[in-house]
């Protein structure tokens, strides 16, 4: 490794900032974007990601160790020293040089240290809601509002039925009228696609509104 490094004219690693496709690659400079999919445990995040992803959803793991204990809220599991975080994600090639990644958030609260990573640079988030368990998604919504990340709420229709009206849910969750609430079926590709389109539109509007201010 060292011999390879010394033969490289650029010198030590840290001297080079992350440049867009330095000099080597003649091919396309592929760009990536990401959208976060949040919601409570078992609300259908992975199904949602999988219905539109061109790959089977993959799982990333990050080991949380004692070293991170000071930064992470371990109050829920005081005896846990190390644990493994699972985060599902999928990939959608939107163009020859544009890839969209969909990241499902880790459901457990103690993994919030990963959420910063997830949210940074994201276009926005889809918060999936099971209307029988509204409270499960409050933490996610709080987080996105705190970070000013545009989000839409997707009411996932279990068994193909919507149990509640959209406006009732909005009132029950006291969601700002500017935030779109849509109904979706995470198993249907078209439905997932429409939810993502709604999110990107909402994010663009939010951006333009912020720019106008």
């Amino acid at each position: 490794m060292d011999s390879v490094g010394s033969s490289f004219p650029g010198g030590p690693a840290m001297a080079r900032p992350p440049q867009p496709a330095p000099v080597h690659r003649p091919g396309p400079t592929t760009i990536s974007a990401k959208i976060v999919v949040a919601g409570g445990f078992g609300v259908g995040k992975t199904t949602f990601v999988g219905s539109v992803s061109e790959i089977d959803p993959l799982t990333t793991e990050a080991v949380m160790t004692e070293a991170s204990a000071g930064h992470d809220d371990l109050s829920a599991t005081p005896n846990k020293q190390t644990t493994t975080v699972a985060m599902d994600f999928g990939r959608v090639s939107l163009d020859s040089d544009l890839i969209l990644y969909l990241f499902g958030t880790p459901g457990q609260h103690r993994f919030w240290f990963m959420w910063d990573d997830l949210v940074r640079g994201a276009i926005g988030a889809v918060v999936l809601v099971d209307t029988r368990r509204l409270a499960d998604c409050f933490s996610a919504i709080d987080f996105f509002e705190d970070r000013n990340l545009p989000y839409v709420v997707g009411l996932n229709a279990f068994d193909g039925l919507q149990q509640h009206r959209v406006e009732d849910v909005r009132e029950a969750m006291s969601i700002d009228p500017s935030v779109p609430i849509i109904t979706c079926d995470a198993r249907q590709r078209e439905s997932t696609k429409n939810a993502l389109i709604a999110l990107v539109q909402h994010a663009m509007q939010a951006r333009m509104a912020a720019g106008a201010r």
Binding site: P20, P22, T29, S32, I197
Partner: protein, 212 residues
Amino acid sequence: MTSGPDDASQRPQEPTFADVMNGFSLDAKRPRRRKRWGRRRDEDEQGRFDQAPPTPPPFPAAPGAPPSGADASFAGSGYGTYETGPIEPIRDEMLVAPAAGAAAVRPYAWTRGRTKANFDLAIETLVSTSPQGREQLGLLQMEHRSVADLCDQPRSVAEIAALLAIPLGVARVLLGDMAGLGVVTVHQTASSTGTEPDLALMERVLSGLRRL
């Protein structure tokens, strides 16, 4: 009597070829000897000496396996002492290390203990093997090579971590190293230019989604 391995090395004096061969073929009849090696893994089985452990002895030709006659005499005389006295303390010491390292190579051994990457790599940042990396594929260290193989087409940091079954942090450090060496190219992300994706890119994502 001293430790097990010492004892094993003291016992034989210049085994003949035939002795060694006997050692192979008669192994199955001497569960006790196997036990001595096998117990590192099967500590619970220490009481059941009659039962051969499922794993073969790591060293089949262990220091000159004695012929069956000598072995039988050993079994008669020395065996009890093995079981009770001197063996126990060794067992505990020997168990500590293998138990701790039993899982696999520790993830951060890949990174020589470093947890910070030299590059700012988001989880969705695309990485692809550079032409230089392809030329030097044979020269790369093993970990870098497996990454370079994967990144023949652009892949995200998260994909690399998932496909290689390594933690995200490890993938970041590895990729940071490789980017520093010029082996891989780090692509732009939506947020490379600032903290938030720009409108033009969002527009492209939107039209891309509509085309799906």
